[in-house]
């Protein structure tokens, strides 16, 4: 079966700036795929080329077996796109907004109202979109992208400007959407978001994909020591060091960085020093650091 999205050696420059510089990737059907990178990495440009909004300077994109450029009428009803939380008609209520989008796809108003319920906005249906909170506007925007039940959904920075609580709520919604069997592609500059949501991520920087794969696999490949920490004072530094690994103690927590977690955990258990136990592995931020040699800053 061919890939749902197939991108091959994509390039796009604005003047001297190579916004997308030789990007290739594939997305399988039903996958939750994330394009991850700091602002200005070229994520949005890549996504917009795949959506068929921009013409690449070179390279090919096929979406659901069809070329993305030029604009393809047969493709449009099969994809859903969320560009920005405020891509709404002015001064319409949430219900009018989604019903307008529904009718553009010849979808009955009933489905639109159901979709409002799916994203939890039934209570705000009569509210003008200008009055919605950031999280509500974002959910409405996603609902408008989903109203015609597309096979493939594109989301550009869906949690961009949201507070942590609203982000968590949106993650639940996105997982729900992905579980329904749709292919979802999102861009994000939040490492934790990509790690938590995506089946597979492509890490982008300066217009290039540095690495792609399942978040857990990317982290495992790093082979970075685990950090095991317990409450200070349960075990002495010397004792801890003997378990294998380098020890730091800041008076609150005693941490052991080790590549042999079994031995360390066994030792801590037999010393009855497990109170406040935390085990932390490397994250995608560490992957980014090792790939670029610099700290990740969104």
């Amino acid at each position: 079966m061919p890939a749902t999205i197939s991108v091959c050696d994509l390039r796009k420059s604005y003047g001297d700036l190579a916004a997308v510089d030789g990007v290739s990737f594939e997305v399988e059907q039903g996958e939750f795929f994330g394009i991850l990178g700091p602002n200005g990495a070229g994520k949005t440009t890549t996504l917009e080329i795949v959506e068929g909004l921009r013409r690449p300077d070179s390279g090919t994109v096929t979406v659901l077996g069809l070329p993305a450029w030029p604009r393809n009428q047969a493709l449009l009803p099969r994809i859903g796109v969320q560009l920005q939380a405020s891509s709404f008609f002015e001064r319409l209520t949430a219900r009018e907004q989604i019903r307008t989008f529904a009718s553009l796809y010849s979808v009955p108003a009933k489905n639109a109202d159901d979709m409002l319920e799916t994203v939890g906005l039934t209570d705000q249906a009569g509210l003008r979109t200008e009055k919605l909170s950031g999280g509500q506007a974002q959910r409405l925007s996603i609902a408008c992208a989903l109203v015609h039940d597309p096979e493939l959904l594109f989301l550009d920075e869906p949690t961009g400007a949201l507070d942590p609580q609203a982000r968590r709520n949106l993650w639940d919604l996105l997982r729900h959407i992905s579980r329904s069997g749709r292919t979802v592609v999102l861009t994000t500059h939040h490492m934790d978001e990509a790690e938590s949501l995506c089946d597979r991520v492509a890490i982008m920087d300066h217009g290039k994909i540095l690495k792609a794969g399942a978040p857990a696999a990317l982290v495992r490949e790093l082979d970075q020591p685990l950090r095991i920490s317990v409450q200070s004072g349960l075990i002495s530094g010397d004792q801890a060091a003997r378990l294998g690994g380098s020890v730091t103690d800041d008076g609150v927590s005693l941490s052991i960085a080790t590549s042999e977690p079994g031995q360390v955990l066994g030792g801590l258990a037999s010393a009855d020093a497990l109170a406040g136990l935390r085990v932390e592995g490397a994250t995608l931020e560490d992957v980014f650091l090792s790939l670029t040699g610099r700290e990740y800053r969104a």
């Binding site: 604005y14 604009r71 449009l76 560009l83 405020s86 891509s87 001064r91 319409l92 553009l104 796809y105």
Partner: protein, 355 residues
């Protein structure tokens, strides 16, 4: 699929307009206030009345008023005890002229602060004296004069400035609407979002034009309803219905200006300023605020370069001057040609987004 898109887009745009307080104020409320304001000021401008102050008894005035009752429509006569009081009143402007009689000699003193009234005083009293002389001679007059204006008697001020102010209202409504919508939709990426929906660009453009023309016709209806109130007294002439296609063509012309501005401007503020810079001088130079017949020559020359001129004069011709339907055709042709040229430029300048 296309039909559904057109209908729902039209609905969304119309709701967006009627819920937009600023748009309602600028395209309907403000022009209507202007209409009511000008309408009230110039309601009787066709026959200014002269306030004449009479010192003592002027026998000639009394006989003239008995002979011609219509004279009291032009002259309002009051009395003063002394010449000094009467002259003081004329200087202050409470009265327009003072008159007294010395033997067979009639003396009139007037102020030239209002030259129209000064001229009227001279000619009215002059003709009273002439008539009296003629009556004394006992001969029938050999020459007579019949004077009347070329326009229909009903061509009062309201007939001029209803089309003028309406033209301004249509122009600013259409230009602002198109410019602001384009800039806003580009900024919030709705333009691109619609590009990814299965609706044709034609359906989007047709919906926008349809709504703009509908708004223009609402403006027309509101203007006619108010100007035709007996208080203002607008008289529509036979081919007034040609105003409807004129409104549609005017809307197209000014939408194209709005599209061009929307293609150039990056922010709503910039779009608003540019449209103001274009429309407001055009309203003065194109005969919307000042009737071109009364305007200085250079304004009349400049007006030929203003699309608003053709909209305003075209509407005046068919709705107030009583000309036939064909009188609107040259204006319609010019407006459509203007629309075509400006739209082509706007399409060339068009950008999907700000990058």
């Amino acid at each position: 699929m296309r039909g559904g898109g057109f209908a729902s887009l039209s609905r969304a745009m119309f709701l967006g307009f009627v819920r937009d307080r600023a748009a309602m104020i600028f395209s309907i409320l403000l022009p209507v206030l202007f209409l009511v304001f000008f309408g009230s000021i110039y309601r009787n401008s066709s026959a200014p009345k002269i306030n004449l102050i009479e010192v003592g008894q002027v026998e000639l005035l009394r006989t003239a008023r008995q002979a011609d009752p219509a004279l009291s429509k032009v002259l309002a006569i009051s009395h003063a005890r002394s010449q000094a009081v009467a002259l003081a009143d004329v200087r202050k402007g409470t009265d327009d002229a003072a008159v007294w009689q010395v033997g067979n000699h009639i003396v009139v003193r007037y102020s030239i602060t209002d030259q129209t009234k000064a001229g009227l005083v001279n000619s009215v009293l002059g003709s009273i004296v002439q008539d009296a002389n003629l009556a004394v001679s006992g001969k029938p007059p050999r020459f007579t004069l019949t004077a009347s204006q070329v326009e229909d008697k009903s061509l009062k001020a309201i007939q001029y400035f209803t089309p003028g102010l309406l033209g301004w209202a249509l122009a600013s409504g259409a230009a602002f609407g198109a410019a602001i919508t384009l800039v806003t939709w580009r900024q919030n990426k709705l333009l691109r979002r619609l590009r990814l929906a299965p609706v044709s660009t034609g359906a989007i453009v047709a919906a926008r034009i349809g709504i703009a023309v509908a708004i223009g016709l609402i403006q027309l209806a509101v203007f006619l309803a108010i100007a035709r109130l007996p208080y203002f007294g607008l008289q529509l002439t036979a081919s007034w219905w040609m105003t409807i296609p004129m409104v549609a063509c005017g809307i197209l012309a000014f939408m194209s200006i709005g599209l061009l501005v929307g293609a150039i401007a990056k922010t709503q503020q910039a779009a608003t300023s540019i449209v103001n810079l274009v429309i407001l001088p055009m309203a003065f130079l194109g005969g919307a605020f000042i009737p071109l017949d009364f305007a200085p020559d250079w304004v009349r020359q400049a007006s030929y370069a203003m699309p608003l001129r053709y909209l305003v004069t075209g509407m005046q011709n068919v709705m107030a001057r009583g000309e036939g339907p064909a009188a609107a055709l040259p204006a319609i042709g010019i407006l459509l040609a203007f629309t075509l040229v400006v739209s082509l430029i706007a399409v060339r300048m068009f950008r999907w987004d700000d990058i």
